[in-house]
Assembly symmetry: C2
Homo-oligomer: 253 residues x 2
């Protein structure tokens, strides 16, 4: 029996702690390799699994999205349970479905949503799930900085230098800080994100200072942060918040 | 310089996953041993650390309370940071203070509050922090069962047989189920709790059934659950919810 090729879309949740990120790297535990291996265990076929976003080592995902083409008789909805049977407990496929053959989890995406959690006190339970900083932050300054991120900017100063591309413009639709109990939360939604961009934005905003930048050239003020967004130079923002506070929340199509 | 003895009260948070519970057991990792060792590292004295409640292996605490008597010049408030320096990351002292010499973390307590988290879907991130059950529950039945727990009862059927005491009466001031997103939460507050009592109550309530108990003698109905609370026999409830969903939230004085 010859099956026609199906394009299967997966929504995937994972705890990034034990993985060297999404993308397959030889000899390293990666989420993409675990998913690819699980598909192979189910179907005896090694396929190319395309992810919407390449999360770095330690970054978590609540709604990473991936797709792969396969000729197999398994019903698309059943990949969820079949893959979960083989996957380690810190990766869960939330849903599986057949999508149009033109669907591409990376190129078809119209937005990605990320969340960053800052814990304002040390936690015995949740330290793998937030960046813990025992400092005070000015909520008004964070709020204002988040507003300045909105819109279309060249975000190359917030990108790992080696990963910069020809076009580093991204459009940010939503950018805000809010507080829930001992957590400071940053939510950002945009059409695309450069390598380490959310962590660099968070690192910069958490390190905003009132001090005169002439006296402390390494410091960022709200004004110098805005200048970098408006007229980026070859500069690379020196603050990168650690990966374990970051979540890829969802990908929109 | 001779110090007068001080009674130091600690409020402690811990992730129970890696510990064989609170109470010291030779050769096993326990929270009480970690706290005792940290006090010894700070003061060079081995003291008797009294905990308000003996949590079982795997049970978490947000507000375990302990106290110890010590003659030492360290200011009471500074024990917090000093102990945290030596403690593993999954135990955090939230506060330390000097209390009256008569204060006893176990006998002075007037209530304990516990929480039990049931996850209604599998989570890649939080499986160590909730009991995951992919089943549907009748919220009205859970609500009603929780109400029947209120008041003073002989809870011996909900106690590990070997741990039963002469008097197994406990008074429950608060007992309720509620739902937050994919979580079912049970909150219970009482003057005392027997060994494994919260987990047995949760286990029993999650396993309530409509089936005729004459046909299925192992099943509990809302009526047979109530009968056990009103007229306990030597019976031991056969359902015990697993420890990793349980939190000792706070102890009241």
């Amino acid at each position: 029996m010859t099956e026609t090729a199906k394009n299967i879309k997966l929504v995937i949740e994972y705890k990034g702690t034990s993985f060297c990120g999404w993308q397959i790297q030889k000899g390293q535990p990666t989420v993409q390799e675990e998913i690819t291996s699980a598909i192979e265990s189910v179907t005896s076929q090694r396929v190319n699994v395309i992810g919407a976003g390449r999360t770095d080592a330690g970054v978590h995902a609540l709604g990473q999205t991936a797709n792969f083409m396969i000729r197999h008789s398994l019903e698309p909805e059943r990949y969820r349970d079949a893959l979960n049977f083989y996957l380690p407990d810190d990766i869960r496929v939330k849903s599986s479905e057949e999508v149009d053959e033109k669907f591409h989890s990376r190129f078809s995406a119209v937005y990605r949503r990320y969340r960053y959690l800052v814990g304002l006190e040390r936690s015995a339970l949740y330290r793998e799930f937030r960046y813990e900083v025992e400092r005070r932050f000015d909520p008004a300054r964070l709020k204002e900085a988040a507003l300045r991120v909105l819109g279309e900017h060249d975000f190359s100063p917030f990108c790992v230098v080696a990963s910069r591309q020809e076009n580093n413009f991204c459009t940010i639709y939503q950018s805000r800080w809010y507080r829930i109990g001992p957590l400071l939360v940053y939510e950002v939604r945009g059409n695309r994100f450069l390598h380490s961009m959310v962590r660099s934005l968070v690192g910069a905003m958490l390190n905003l200072s009132d001090e005169d930048p002439d006296d402390h050239p390494a410091n960022l003020t709200l004004d110098s942060f805005t200048d970098i967004l408006l007229t980026p130079s070859g500069l690379r923002i020196p603050f990168t918040a650690p990966p374990h506070g970051l979540y890829l929340v969802s990908v929109g199509y």
